[in-house]
Symmetry: C2
Subunit: 253 residues, 2 copies
């Protein structure tokens, strides 16, 4: 990292820490570094000041610095290199912490974390509901539903493969759905209600391997979700297969 960047980061941290109020210092430190990343002050591969510089220039304890760095490392924002210190990881190397609370959908979830979502559509078909899909959507078996297959990207990297089954009533024109299905529901004034999620894991199969451009098999996180509308009717059942090195699911209760 250049001396300029170094100074900019330390100055930003100094200002932010002075305004921490009742917020624990290490969390304030953490947030400040993340803001510096979003603002482009810190970029991929930039080295952070040393632990010693942080403590001396900012006048905070080594414990605070270590806690903050441990948290940034855990969240995938920084890496450590023996002998060279701590560096900013490429945004695409950070895990997506996907919240199970609040119905946001992939695209909004990604944007909230300051990253760029994209969607590659594979197919948008009408199919008869299988027994399982009918049970999930509370409809009669063989009722036609939309089956929507797509690959979710962050920047240019495939993150997950999703297949959604949606009741016909919830979609007027299947070709109008853009990057985000949930945004489409919003534009069509469909009120979103509860979301049930089940998270499991399994090895990738040949189909997912190809869709996710994996060189070799890896564990995938599988999330199965049922989305209800405001009147508590199920409108979508989806199964997503997510790279385990790029995702984690987060809940709070």
């Amino acid at each position: 990292m250049s001396m300029d960047t170094n100074q900019q980061v330390l100055e930003k941290l100094k200002t932010d820490l002075a305004q921490a109020g009742t917020m624990p210092l290490y969390l304030c430190f953490n947030e400040s570094v993340r803001q510096a990343m979003e603002a482009g002050i810190l970029q991929d591969g930039d080295f952070l000041p040393s632990e010693r510089q942080f403590t001396e220039i900012l006048g905070i304890s080594r414990i605070t610095v270590r806690k903050a760095l441990a948290r940034l490392e855990e969240d995938g924002h920084i890496g450590r290199s023996r002998g060279y210190g701590t560096f900013i990881k490429k945004a695409t190397d950070a895990r997506l912490a996907y919240s199970l609370a609040g119905v946001k959908g992939f695209s909004r979830e990604v944007m909230l974390q300051g990253r760029k979502p994209d969607t590659l559509w594979i197919s948008r078909d009408q199919v008869p509901a299988s027994a399982l899909i009918a049970s999930k959507l509370a409809i009669i078996e063989n009722t036609p539903v939309y089956m929507l297959k797509r690959i979710h990207y962050i920047d240019t990297r495939p993150m997950s493969v999703a297949v959604s089954y949606v009741i016909m009533d919830a979609i007027r024109d299947v070709e109008e759905i853009g990057v985000s299905l949930y945004d489409y529901f919003g534009r069509n004034n469909i009120e979103l209600g509860a979301l049930q999620s089940r998270v499991s894991a399994a090895m990738s199969d040949a189909e997912n391997l190809k869709a996710l451009q994996l060189k070799e098999a890896m564990p995938l996180l599988i999330i199965k979700q049922t989305l209800f509308d405001g009147q508590n009717r199920p409108i979508e059942y989806s199964e997503s297969f997510c790279r385990s090195d790029m995702y984690e699911f987060v809940s709070e209760d």
Copy 2:
């Protein structure tokens, strides 16, 4: 399945379905079969009546029967065998649907599903908190904490390996903790508050392979949880490594 069992199940279903009220019939059917399993009327490997018997004797539609069977199969309670029909799976083959809502802990979660939890203790040590643990428990690095390692069982089968870091204040005598840490907190009048969960996945490593008695590597679900007390102070941070063929995590929002 013997004719007797067959009749018992159909009679139970008939009675239960007649009292379904506003509950969808397939859910009532599902619940009735689960009760028959818990009561021992249906046992491991027992075959269920045929789809035709169900519809004719119970006077319900084929769609309802199929929906109910699809749901039971999805939950791991029944299996299908071509040419022989549908059979009850061993309880230990069913996946544990572990709820992220409500702070129950492994043992209570298992008991609620009518199965028998057990715990094999590996170690109960005092260790200095690492930077990560200190950050999670909002304490100063190197403060002593309890590190509790154990293997969780259902019946005689190892399901997951858990390591918990607990603040000293929350444990009076570490040897008094029995099968359930959360029950111990309860006996010590520790009020439990929020629970934060992060679910990820990775391949088993050599240590987990041995602890879980796996013959070969498999994907594990990893759940990292921070438990807070009634005053919103973190008291426990845990990491559990769970067999992906035996677990799923469930949330509703």
